[in-house]
């Protein structure tokens, strides 16, 4: 990369090795690499968080409020990427999805009108038997809710939470195992986990946050 400010080799760091000007990010950069972490499910959280905050202090738009417009644009783009990296790594579900995506397996939810959703090739679907089980559980939950049986609703939610936790652990182990076929196994478990998550949201009132378990 040639530095926009001094026209010399800028190097890989956020700041130009020659003149110290902030460089725009590499849009294709790996999100684990952005935070200096090895790409695996078992992330050293304190280290990742420390890296996030350290880098934020260096590149945040607050540091460039009165700087050259090119430095300001670089700061904005850098920080967007940094926030995305931390957002992805800190949450187990998003972290797992991203690890699979890196390996060419898209378990992202299909979005209406999304071109990727329509033409995705390597899509993972849940097995029919699993779907039937979930459907039956959903019906049971709806019936318990209609009957005002709060004890049963709470019990079903707790059972599903335990299942989700176990599933998350399995996914993590499968992702880091490095054995053939393990990634596909993790992908299938991840698709199942989404159904668990939706079930838990339903049971606990239907709202809930932005998807983190």
């Amino acid at each position: 990369m040639i530095c926009w400010s001094c026209q010399k080799q800028a190097g890989a760091a956020p700041l130009c090795a020659a003149c110290g000007a902030l460089q725009p990010p590499d849009d294709a950069a790996d999100l684990f690499a952005v935070l200096g972490q090895p790409a695996r499910f078992a992330v050293d959280m304190p280290a990742a968080e420390a890296a996030y905050k350290d880098l934020s202090r260096q590149v945040h738009p607050d540091r460039f409020a009165t700087a050259d417009p090119r430095a300001r644009r670089a700061s904005l783009a850098r920080t967007v990427q940094l926030n995305l990296a931390w957002h992805t790594l800190r949450d187990p579900l998003r972290r797992a999805e991203y690890l699979l995506l890196r390996a060419g397996i898209d378990v992202g939810e299909k979005k209406p009108g999304d071109a990727d959703g329509q033409r995705a090739t390597n899509k993972v679907a849940a097995p029919p038997a699993f779907l039937i089980e979930i459907l039956e559980l959903n019906d049971e939950l709806a019936a318990a809710k209609r009957a005002g049986d709060t004890v049963k609703v709470a019990f079903m939610a707790e059972e599903m939470r335990a299942r989700a936790r176990e599933s998350m652990n399995e996914i993590g182990a499968a992702l880091d195992a490095g054995a053939p076929g393990k990634l596909e196994e993790a992908a299938r478990s991840l698709v199942a986990l989404r159904y668990y998550q939706r079930f838990i949201d339903q049971a606990s009132g239907g709202q809930g946050g932005d998807g983190a378990p």
């Binding site: 607050d62 409020a65 926030n83 957002h87 071109a115 932005d210």
Partner: protein, 639 residues
Amino acid sequence: MAEALFQIAEPGQSRSKHACRTRAVGIDLGTTNSLVAIVDAGKPVALADEHGETMVPSVVHYRGDGGVVVGADARDRLALDFPRDTIASVKRFMGRGPRDAEATRKLTPYQFFQGAGDQSVVRFAAGGRAVTPMEVSADILRVLRLRAEEALAGPLQGAVITVPAYFDDGQRQATRDAGRLAGLEVLRLLNEPTAAALAYGLDKQAEGTFAVFDLGGGTFDVSILKLEDGVFEVKSTGGDSALGGDDFDRTIAEALLARAGGADAGDARVIRHVLDAARALKEKLTIESAAAVDVELVPGKTTTLRLTRAEMEALVTPVLERCAGPLRRALADARVERGHLSGVILVGGATRMPLVRRFVEEWFGQKPLADIDPDQVVALGAAVQADMLAGGAGAGDVLLLDVVPLSLGLETMGGIAEKLIHRNTTVPCGAKQTFTTFADNQTGFDLHVVQGERELVAECRSLARFTLKGIPPMPAGMARLEVTFMVDADGILRVSAREETTGKEAAIEVKPSYGLTDDEVERMILDSIAHGDEDVKARLLAEQRVEADGIVAAARAAMRDAPELLEDGERDAIEEALTAVEAARAGSDHHAIRTAIETLDHASKAFATRRMNKALEQGFRGRNVDAVDAKLTERPGER
């Protein structure tokens, strides 16, 4: 001139002070009051006017002759006599359309301008013209800018303006545009609870997880923040951008009106009087348990309105309880238990009410913190942030991580809102989505951007409609349009798009659903600069003419009264100078009038001195000047 002389006289003092001071200010643009603060010698301070008053009432009066009056004068005097031409609580209308304004109109004295077809922005009919909320806010900001420029003896580097955390994109844009219109370089829009936390955190060296409860004149905000090693991380935010002390006033006023009976609830003057009475009663009841105010609801007839604290609390409790929903959601989003907070910080004038404090204490199960003035804390925090942005002390040590208050999405088929950026995502942030064409050779694409948490587009806030143009003709489903959402550190969204297969940037046409287009704002700013210059010139000219008239009249009177004191040739010189002043006065150059006045001053100086001595001689009958001085300095009681 005087400023320069002072600086020369005391170089050491002013230098050292200015050296550690940036020229950036923090502004709290409030619903009821606004303040400006700077960091001086490492400490944030709110700037006061010549009476020592830091708060400028956010009230603007538009005179029929084009004049504008801002602040206490507008609130205390003009709002009563000219309720329609005097705009208060304009913040509630920022970034809002006429239909939104209708909703808040139940008890408001304003008249809205019915423009031809334009439904995107509220316009008040005030002082014989149509003014947008952005322009009203700019008039308030201008007063604060002048105050700061005077205190800092020069132009500003920039300003941080605070907004409620729960302000949506349109409300933020309107605020930033108001700043630009007021001639400010807006360095950042800062969320009010975050500003308050910054002021507290730095002052008290606080660490832990805090809730900021901010109940102002017109908005309610709650933010949950984690403070650690100089990092202020907002975990979640919630609120209601149409809930505040104003709503208490309106509820009380409605009850008073019903009770008074016979008063015309459709009369703007009556509404203003009753709203003011409600506010006065509410303030009195902060300290007392019963209060009364006299109002003139029917001309010539005084009515005494009485209220006890218990009655008032019964009236406003249902309004206050609307805070509970946002509080619960903010805690849930932050994944924090009510009892696990290190502290609860109170912000906003309405938190002075004993009822509000009790509510907060009961809800959180702990005594809230209010040791920094809740009216000033936001402006002080904004000043700290402005100072850091401009490179002052603390830059690089402190890191503010704020969030998007409401999810951002696009309308998809069936009127469903597809969220691209979820609420409480740390800003700045971005998201991309790829779309394709539905028809062969389709060259355009419409996008509808919405903000809100609901599933259906109709229940979210419409932000803007974008039209992408210039897509190269290809078969249906072949084009790949990548749309990028980017939310900057001010919480403002930008949208861009490109066609991936050809790499062609799609042209975007933005039509904001509410508010003004960029072009309209740009034109207003250019107009204000052009007119601003004209306004200043007109004022200076008027001032010089008044001074010229005064000095000409005085000189003529003096020559008539004491012709014996004129020396040879002196009369001619003075007459000549007088003619020159009159000639200059007839022109329109204020510099020329000033020069002529100075020439006249010079020509008549000796004569004026002689006249003064004569007057003194007559007045004190022969005593010399020293004796007169001695007499004047004696104190009355000592004789």
